[in-house]
Symmetry: C3
Subunit: 349 residues, 3 copies
């Protein structure tokens, strides 16, 4: 019997099954510095303890996407080691903020399963929850992946497809209760634009571009203890579909978020990811650009000083975004588009 | 109206104008480790809490150049986003040491301005000051950049050129008051040579070379939240003057300082940068070597145990420095020279 | 007189000589995060403070190999700057665990010396000891290197060859006294296999591969303040034996250890390295795979809950390890093999 983890196949997942993922992870100042070096993010709340305290945090919280990557990474060996594709995300909500020295671990529950008509693969839906050392949820999300069957002759299970909300409904719980903005300093934050300065349908070109290096996305992916094989093994990928390593999709999300500072500098927190697709793969040497559009503006009930912007952020490769490249008349994505992310950020009013 | 920062142009700067730069930054142990990984610096005071305490610091202070890069990086979006060239530095003095968990922010004052004869560009002089969370100055320097005019037809302002001291005058304030050297251990520090062992005009070949990787200078520059576009965007730079990304000049300064350990191992602190020029650009794949010359020796008034060496450190690319490459008979720099730095370091006597 | 360190030559070493190596190093959370980014290690004890505390550590200890690399790195300027080859390791024992904010320094004693028959080089044996700020030994090992003579005409010294134990004898001192396993959680640790599940001679393919990048091994080697020139200087190595930089051997050991998680997930601590050889050099672009074999199983006297596995871990380049590549019938290593490491790990029973 082999002792190496072969990962789970379609037959191994059962509706209602709870999976405790391995390797809890204490996130530290070291991870924060590394994350800054990877993406150069400049949101003041995450960069400065003093700035964070001035608005009511006890310290600079961990970047929301660093939390996402760490929580997500843990699910890979159990959920997607044999995945052919990461099909989608939904209902991703960030709740209690994480701080340096918090220990995060992840538990998933299988909430859906449907065999594909080819009989060789199926789609598995899981809800994954990241919790801190006090058992508080820092993040939860639904994710669905296409997984190989171990045995093509195994009978198809009864299909169960979970409800996937089109967007996350923000609740008190997804908001940082303690925040106040009377001392929030636009100059130190780097942007004069607050919630009320944005308009629905407004488009923002984030201007800057960032070129991806093989070493950088490898370091990033290992920092998150993400073990997806396509990111690390050039020897194997040389024979694969693209002949080279694929950049971890989360790396692209973080680059896009960092670029979005230029135009959305006060969007200090991601409250939710409503959905998203990695439209095209990225490779080392590609330069990522991004633009955003305001999809919705939601003043927050009982919270005069805070508003939520629902955004579409589109990242491209090797194409600047002054022209806001997206989909053609045929509804197909422009070939430069690599990411189409629908998410909700919080800004002071 | 666009929400992305377009940077300031020549007309936007006014004499006396004070600019509060964005994104205060808490520097942590994570940044210190990353800095060590980037340059492999081996100065004992910055590497070991115990060593630092043995001479009177409360902990290992942050490397002076890491402080410089962070403080400098903040000025880029406001001062040099539209800069054609970083022309020079002067009067750069390091004062209160920074420690992990200090939060640094930067404020600049415009102190000079002169339009160029072509009517399209001008030179702007600013004094930038880095302060910690207690309002103490950790670093200040004058810097001048060539910036584009927004409108070539705008009238030329009255030229104002500030006094630029040829070298920094060290004062009590620029020295760490609490330091004592009776317990300073040469063996642990890695060098038997103290202040009195160096002679004016002496030249030191630092022997070792370090090759620059694209990923490394990108990680470094983002760690400093420096947003200068020429460093990150291969897609744009492919069409630029060199067809490739330019390595951040501060990266070269840090490599040269790290190499200088081999010969100047007890030069535990940079007190001042008197001036410096990035003589030639560096690119990934270049191997940097360095040598130094002792320009001046200054025993420090009322301080028997400490002396200041004014140094010229010259960095080259792809040329070892046993022959001390510098300028030819025509006064022009040897083509291998990339950096000519005039600075002052402190050593125990 | 030159002030740069020229390193020691064969004649410079004397039996019994004690060498205090330079640059004590405070290891922090920053180093831990960086190490994770380099190798993606997933052993729960080193990854999570909570997990570590649940079995009796006060915090997550520093990865044993990070301790090794830091302690080893300090010896390079004195011991192996003029080395032609790192010939071997023996009697390497890990004792008191290291934690973030510990300061490590290294002292070596020359324990053997033998001139080679060519009269130009000799072998020097040293025992190096890494100690923390309380003077406790965290690690010690014997290492022998081939070093150039300064003067080929210098007379050969009387040969002294130390006893090199074939394997380390574990003693109480090399074990963490405080550990208990009643709360050890296999699921969080990521493996159902404990000491008693392994059999002597069993072979385990660790399946995954990791491709080496130039920037990564450079960052790693500088993080350890290891100054061996072959790792950093492409300009010099272009003229060298391989025409390119050689990857630091310790980098390969760490990759192999990280890969070994997949099959040995509960091997939470390295107790000893019995011996090892870097069979072939590695270069950037190589993909490292690994497999292990159980050489011995040692229940530990008076310790019902803990056992020691003596392992051979073999790392290859560009060759997956399903077929356990090792030596041919002629006793020579398969050309894909880069590392043959004989070491002892601890697992809960």
């Amino acid at each position: 019997m082999t002792k190496a983890n072969a990962g789970n196949f379609f037959e191994d997942f059962e509706i209602g099954q709870k999976i405790v993922h391995a390797t809890p992870r204490t996130i530290t100042d070291g991870d924060v510095a590394f994350y800054t070096a990877l993406y150069g993010s400049r949101f003041a709340v995450q960069s400065s303890n003093q700035f964070a305290r001035s608005i009511g945090y006890r310290d600079a919280p961990i970047d929301d996407l660093l939390v996402f990557h760490v929580v997500f990474g843990k699910t890979v060996p159990d959920i997607s080691l044999n995945a052919i594709a990461n099909l989608g995300y939904a209902d991703c909500r960030f709740s209690v903020p994480a701080f340096p020295n918090d220990t995060l671990s992840t538990v998933s529950t299988v909430i859906g399963k449907k065999e594909n008509s080819n009989g060789k693969t199926g789609v598995v839906y899981v809800r994954s929850k990241g919790v801190n050392q006090r058992g508080q949820t820092v993040l939860e999300f639904i994710r669905w992946v296409m997984v190989r069957k171990r045995d093509a002759n195994a009978p198809a299970p009864k299909p169960v497809i979970p409800d996937l909300p089109e967007k996350v409904t923000l609740t008190k719980q997804t908001l940082p209760a303690e925040i106040k903005f009377n001392l929030y300093d636009n100059q130190l934050a780097g942007s004069p634009f607050r919630f009320d300065d944005y308009e629905i349908d407004e488009k923002i070109d984030h201007v800057d571009g960032m070129t991806i290096e093989e070493a950088e996305h490898g370091l990033a992916t290992r920092l998150y203890q993400n073990t997806a094989r396509v990111h690390f093994n050039q020897h194997a990928e040389r024979e694969g579909r693209f002949g080279k390593r694929i950049v971890y999709g989360g790396h692209i999300i973080s680059i896009a978020r960092s670029l979005s500072f230029n135009g959305l500098g006060n969007a200090f927190r991601i409250a939710a990811i409503n959905g998203g697709a990695h439209v095209n793969p990225c490779f080392a040497g590609d330069t990522v650009y991004a633009w955003s559009q305001i999809l919705e503006k939601t003043p927050i009930d009982g919270w005069d000083s805070l508003g939520a912007l629902r955004l579409r952020t589109v990242a491209t490769k090797d194409r600047p975004c002054a022209g806001f490249p997206y989909k053609g008349d045929d509804g197909k994505y422009d070939p430069s588009v690599v990411l189409d992310l629908d998410y909700t950020v919080l800004l002071p009013r």
